[in-house]
């Protein structure tokens, strides 16, 4: 489709140059994220190619030492808490917003999306200031609350997208057939929008699991999460254990987001019954 049926020499040159440029851009995109992977299996303690030999010693550090293990545990606690709250409340809100009669939708939507736009340092510093006053600083609840603000926009958007394919007449039909609102939600609506909900949940999980700035301000020394441990490590001393942690985190977010996107796609093309 790039070339016309009878391409001129100039056109051929242009398209070749385009391909060449794009090839370089793709390399620029992919090489940096692939670099930590071989380095994390390096047996030496330096980041220099060629590698000294194959070893899993850095994974043993990340998965075996107390410091990293507690960080992984903290990350999981916070991410699961955030996912649970953000998915539940975000789904309810998306359902409310999908109703065209919802008052003030044009005002509420930008407000809901604003946590994505407001510089995260401002969110973090503000939470630190406020939570210290109400006794939520250095608590898991505080971190989870702050992460929920950052993660819920993703849930609202993905569930909202899956709801555009949802026919509200189904709810009317369910009501006419005698179903209570809760029953029709769990047995009619939820099964149909479930891909969107799960996809939103995966986005929320990854958002929380990857987050480091809010945690840096709110977490006590015992509540350091995996990204925070990485951030501190990067500031102090570059250790190959960080590349192992980075590889693990990257694998987790890529797997979850691939699932999320496949689900979201399925949710959007769900048959309009």
């Amino acid at each position: 489709m790039l070339l016309s049926p009878y391409p001129t020499a100039g056109e051929r040159i242009r398209i070749t140059l385009l391909w060449l440029w794009c090839g370089l851009v793709i390399l620029f995109l992919l090489v940096p994220i692939l670099i930590p992977v071989p380095l994390s299996f390096n047996s030496g303690a330096f980041f220099i190619f060629p590698l000294e030999g194959l070893s899993t010693r850095w994974y043993e550090v990340v998965l075996g030492t107390q410091r990293w293990r507690s960080a992984i545990g903290n990350s999981l606690i916070v991410a699961f808490g955030t996912t649970l709250i953000a998915t539940t409340l975000g789904t309810l809100t998306a359902i409310a917003l999908s109703d065209e009669k919802f008052p003030g939708r044009r005002i509420i939507m930008p407000l809901l999306l604003s946590p994505l736009i407001v510089p995260v340092v401002i969110t973090a510093v503000g939470s630190y200031l406020f939570y210290a006053r109400v006794g939520l600083a250095s608590t898991y609840a505080g971190i989870i609350l702050a992460h929920t603000a950052l993660a819920s926009p993703f849930v609202v958007v993905t569930v909202g997208a899956s709801l555009t394919g949802f026919d509200r007449n189904l709810l009317r039909a369910a009501a006419i057939s005698g179903a209570k609102p809760l029953t029709s939600f769990f047995r009619v609506m939820l099964p149909l929008i479930l891909p969107g909900v799960l996809s939103g949940a995966a986005f929320a999980f990854v958002t929380s699991f990857d987050e480091v700035v809010v945690v840096q301000f709110l977490a006590s020394a015992g509540q350091r999460t995996m990204p925070l441990e990485m951030f501190i490590g990067l500031r102090e001393r570059l250790s190959p254990a960080i590349t192992a942690a980075a590889t693990l985190m990257m694998a987790l977010s890529i797997v979850l987001l691939v699932i999320a996107n496949l689900l979201a796609r399925r949710g959007r093309t769900a048959p309009n019954a």
Binding site: V25, L30, F49, P115, V118, L145, V212, V213, I254
Partner: protein, 426 residues
């Protein structure tokens, strides 16, 4: 019809309204309105939990932080007697002895309550060097009473300096524009006008300009790299396009921290980027890319590239190739067709991608902290530093205030001109 929810039908009151409806149209519309009102309230109720939670975990914290930028009662609280003594003072020269006596009494009270250091720090933020003077005076006052106290305080030349008392008087007003002005390198002068601070004290304008410069450079770089790739992906067969889009999404899905970590490895003196540059012969020597502006811009460009590319791609995808063919067949040269047919249509996508990247770049924190040098720290890093190191909440709040104004203004333009739908990235 759609306004009448079937679930309402089994309500007896509504059923009665319905039976009357045939006779009276008015009551039908009243019932409709009532039913609609109920629907509205119910959907508002559904959205309420998240809205309340966001207000608590996001709205209130930010409002509270911003309020610290304009409301600082530390000095007024610490110096109540001085505040009272200064109410009649016109701000010219030195106030009367009663103000000095009141200050001495206030300072002694602060020493007794253990708040002297806090006061010294707060004054120091407005009057550099005040901290040591206040603490010195407090020590002198320990053994002095009454007239001796007046002598003791007058024996410290700091309290007779021309700028000291106007600053104290300014400080006794809790509602202050001092920090916001400072964040823009401005201050009140003695005549009540606003002036620039002396160049050796001016730091923030430079930091804001640096932030804008980095954001603009990154935006431009992502556009130059991303636009051709978006064009290619939009114009190749579906299967190939899917593979190429995955190449864009994989880094997009990897966290900023992980990608920054990867770049710290790549940009080392003996890292891969230097290896590559030596190999192709661009430089003869290994460059210091870590802790440099250029390293920071490279890493940020890598992180932001998908944000610029995806909105452009989503517009390009909708432009049928037949349009360009029609332009060619009408005699347009490729460049003319591209400029007059293609560019105007993809322009909203380009704007959306570039604005999104620019807005997000203004708030960068992690990457400058890890890859930038001391002179590459952006405004967010200064905010964090004021909170973590200097413990100066007011200054952090003022910088946040100004950064937020810029960010939200741009976001407002984005939402208004381009629409929020363009924020969808996949």
């Amino acid at each position: 019809m759609s306004a009448l929810q079937p679930s309402e039908l089994d309500r007896p009151t509504l059923a009665r309204d319905r039976s009357a409806a045939d006779a009276d149209l008015k009551s039908v519309s009243a019932a409709l309105r009532r039913a609609e009102f109920g629907d509205r309230m119910r959907s508002l109720l559904l959205a309420a939990p998240l809205l309340v939670l966001l207000a608590l975990s996001f709205g209130i914290p930010i409002v509270l932080l911003l309020s610290r930028a304009v409301y600082d009662p530390t000095i007024a609280d610490a110096l109540p007697k001085t505040t009272a003594a200064l109410t009649g003072w016109n701000g010219q020269g030195l106030p009367g002895d009663d103000a000095f006596v009141a200050l001495a009494a206030d300072l002694k009270d602060n020493q007794a309550k253990g708040t002297a250091y806090e006061l010294a720090k707060s004054l120091n933020a407005r009057l550099p060097g005040a901290r040591s003077q206040v603490l010195k005076t407090v020590r002198k006052l320990e053994s002095a009473d009454g007239q001796a106290a007046l002598g003791a305080i007058k024996s410290v030349p700091f309290w007779s300096a021309p700028s000291t008392w106007p600053t104290i008087q300014n400080g006794t007003r809790s509602l202050t524009s001092f920090y916001l002005l400072s964040a823009l390198d401005l201050r009140w002068n003695a005549d009540g006008g606003i002036e620039r601070v002396p160049p050796e004290q001016a730091i923030f304008i430079q930091v804001f300009l640096r932030t804008f410069f980095v954001a603009a450079s990154v935006t431009l770089a992502t556009l130059i790299l991303g636009f051709p790739l978006a064009y290619l992906i939009a114009n190749v067969p579906k299967g190939l396009a899917a593979i190429l889009i995955v190449a864009v999404l994989l880094p997009f899905w990897t966290s900023i921290l992980v990608r920054t970590a990867a770049w710290t490895v790549l940009l080392q003196k003996f890292g891969l980027v230097n290896d590559f540059l030596l190999f192709i012969g661009v430089t003869g020597d290994r460059l210091d890319l870590m802790y440099s502006r250029i390293g920071l811009i490279i890493a940020m460009t890598h992180i932001q590239l998908p944000f610029t590319l995806l909105p452009i791609y989503s517009v390009m995808r909708t432009i049928p190739p037949s349009q360009m063919k029609a332009a060619y067949s009408l005699g347009a040269r490729p460049f003319t067709a591209f400029r007059r047919i293609y560019i105007p249509q993809v322009f909203p996508g380009v704007m959306a991608g570039c604005m999104l990247t620019f807005i997000l770049c203004l708030g960068y924190y992690i990457t400058p902290a890890l890859i930038g040098g001391a002179s590459d720290q952006l405004i967010s890093n200064f905010i964090a530093n004021y909170v973590n190191v200097e413990l100066n909440w007011e200054m952090a709040a003022a910088l946040s205030f100004i950064l937020l104004v810029f960010t939200l203004a741009l976001f407002g333009i984005f939402a208004r001109v381009l629409g929020l739908d363009r924020l969808k990235l996949v």
